[in-house]
Assembly symmetry: C3
């Protein structure tokens, strides 16, 4: 309940401040990322040319770097934008899409981690394991591993997240059936969402854009990550419940997710948020 | 009423001629631009490589240049396509997305204006002010200024539009709460639309693609600009009215806008069009 | 009926194996391609940088090459990914979007055909004629020719498809009002679909991604092509029937197509599939 109230507070701040969220992201889900950023109450801008990224990020309240369709040109822009963001204390979230699938993705994600100070990293378990340095099983950009309900696996994933967060002083968000969000001191698990969400491309990217939007309020990185994850989970589960008839499917689900985020409010968050908070072991 | 009838006439011509509209546009809203071009009755083609843009534009009835996610490679292609379009008297519409936000966008938009003969420029007030040479307040790609109901501001914006249109011999369309469209001799204000449209990415880009589609009928640039702006406004307000229940939001709104444009007809335009026409002061 | 049963079998295999389908595709319809690949039960990955395409395709079960917004950088990546796919016996489908519209598209499509071993080519009649070597009428990326109900034209298109398939030892799929699919020995005509589908961008690309998904099951290239074409046609016609009220249009149609594909099953295919099978003349 306490966590839900904090999320509501941050949501209201986003709606009030309407922060500009600069995205360097992929061309697959970019439209959905822009629309979900608008729906939550922030303002997206997509710009990736080296001639303008440092200017653009200077106007922004947060920076989203998503490597979903990275290439040599945009990787340079990501680094340039990130460095400028660091100079101006603009928080950065990285979405290491497909890290582990190819050496180029893994190396680029690591390079971004090494050269930039990152506020939040959000990925699936495979991607986070890869960045942490464990050889992970990946399948393209989808995790082929998940945090199952097995208590052991969940505990292992939590430990990994906490250790990683401490080591690089960054909030780590691992999303899956159960989501883990931690800054190394406090750890949240979230049980919102529905498995059908994995059948819509970009639910991970959209979650990252939501976290980017919350980061733009410039209050608390851990709370921003939690807020994005909970918002996305609630949107997915309500959108799923609203699918009607024989032909409700993933087309309608995506539309519904944007609709729910646009209408997200105190009542929905208080009623729906399934958040567990714990202190991390030292 | 007179203006509405002309729009209906032009809409019918578009549906009859099915003009090919070559787009060099951004990767954020490109899918919506293609779909709205099809929905109004034209035919979109997106091609941006320097090896083919002059060939492609030669087949087209109009050219849309949108700098939403410009880069060095595509800017060269925009100029090449534009020059070929000028040689062949194919009308060009420019959407100077984010002009004023970064020097690169401002300079590119001005370069396009300087090197090409443009039929129509459509932008928000910040973008048009920037191109006109007034330092404007911008926030990423969204206007942070708008034409409010204040009579003074509206008059100032009209004067600017008229003067700009005369100076560069181009139709200027400023879209916002009240839209202004002028060729420097006749000025239209349009009060269709709904403020929720600003919460869907690409409503500006889609309006530009609609104008591009109407330009493809090759009748009258001013009427094409007016037709695009009125069509988009009507689509937004009907789509808003059709949102149903607790979770109608911006996901459904975008789908609805395309649906309305697909069904746009004489009856709807006559009933909905809120257009005021005036002669420009010399 | 026999063909429908085989399609159902292949659909079940796709859902069971969840094959990874590597796409090098255009930025206009890429999101819809990813979502339809997920909806049918496969897993899409989009990657186009030369630094990673050979690694990525090595993980994949099939490769989709779509030249809708080709450029020099991505064409090199298409060739590199394709060559690696050939080495690993990973089936390739090519969608020669706009072949015939510009020399660059025609030459690129032919270069892909020459340098790679292709499992399936899917295009409209103009595109396939262009690749076959007949001067075709094209209009941007839309076919300006179609297989009409005229028996003569249909027979000509069939002969062309059979001869082309034999010559290059590749399954040829020509989609239009009537679809033709052949490997040069067996020929299928399919009469599913609805003409409104041509008013949504990317129905061709989505069909290609469906074929790519079926190819990922690694059973039978001809059956994969047939399955993709029939699935897309059924999706379009059901989505059209489900459009409701005054403002059902092409926005809703696209959402509906994804919904239907997500729910595609034995019952629907058996009830809807309109397939005719014939042996090819020698």
């Amino acid at each position: 309940m306490e966590a839900c109230k904090k999320i509501i507070g941050l949501l209201n701040t986003v709606k009030e401040k309407n922060p500009l969220v600069h995205h360097l992201t992929n061309y697959v889900t970019v439209n959905d990322c822009a629309n979900i950023t608008l729906a939550i109450g922030a303002s997206p801008v997509m710009a990736d040319d080296i001639n303008e990224v440092t200017d653009m990020v200077s106007l922004a309240s947060s920076l989203v770097i998503n490597i979903g369709t990275l290439n040599e040109r945009t990787v340079e822009s990501m680094l340039a934008a990130g460095k400028r963001a660091n100079e101006l204390n603009i928080p950065i979230i990285i979405d290491p899409v497909g890290a582990g699938a190819t050496a180029y993705r893994t190396e680029t994600a690591k390079r971004l981690m090494d050269e930039l100070e990152i506020a939040v990293i959000r990925g699936n378990l495979s991607e986070i394991k890869t960045l942490y340095g464990i050889k992970a099983q990946t399948k393209g950009v989808d995790s082929s591993e998940d945090i199952s309900s097995s208590q052991d696996e969940l505990e292992n994933a939590k430990e990994l997240a906490v250790d990683f967060a401490k080591k690089i002083n960054t909030v780590i968000a691992i999303t899956g059936v159960i989501d883990i969000i931690t800054d190394g001191r406090t750890l949240y698990t979230v049980e919102n969402g529905h498995k059908i969400m994995s059948k819509v491309t970009g639910t991970g990217c959209m979650c990252t854009s939501l976290i980017g939007s919350y980061l733009g309020a410039r209050e608390n990185n851990l709370l921003a990550a939690l807020s994005g994850v909970v918002s996305m989970g609630i949107a997915g589960e309500i959108a799923y419940e609203n699918l009607s008839g024989n032909y409700g499917g993933t087309g309608s689900l995506k539309v519904g997710i944007l609709d729910v985020i646009f209408n997200l409010n105190e009542e929905v968050i208080m009623k729906r948020g399934k958040i567990n908070e714990e202190c991390c072991k030292l």
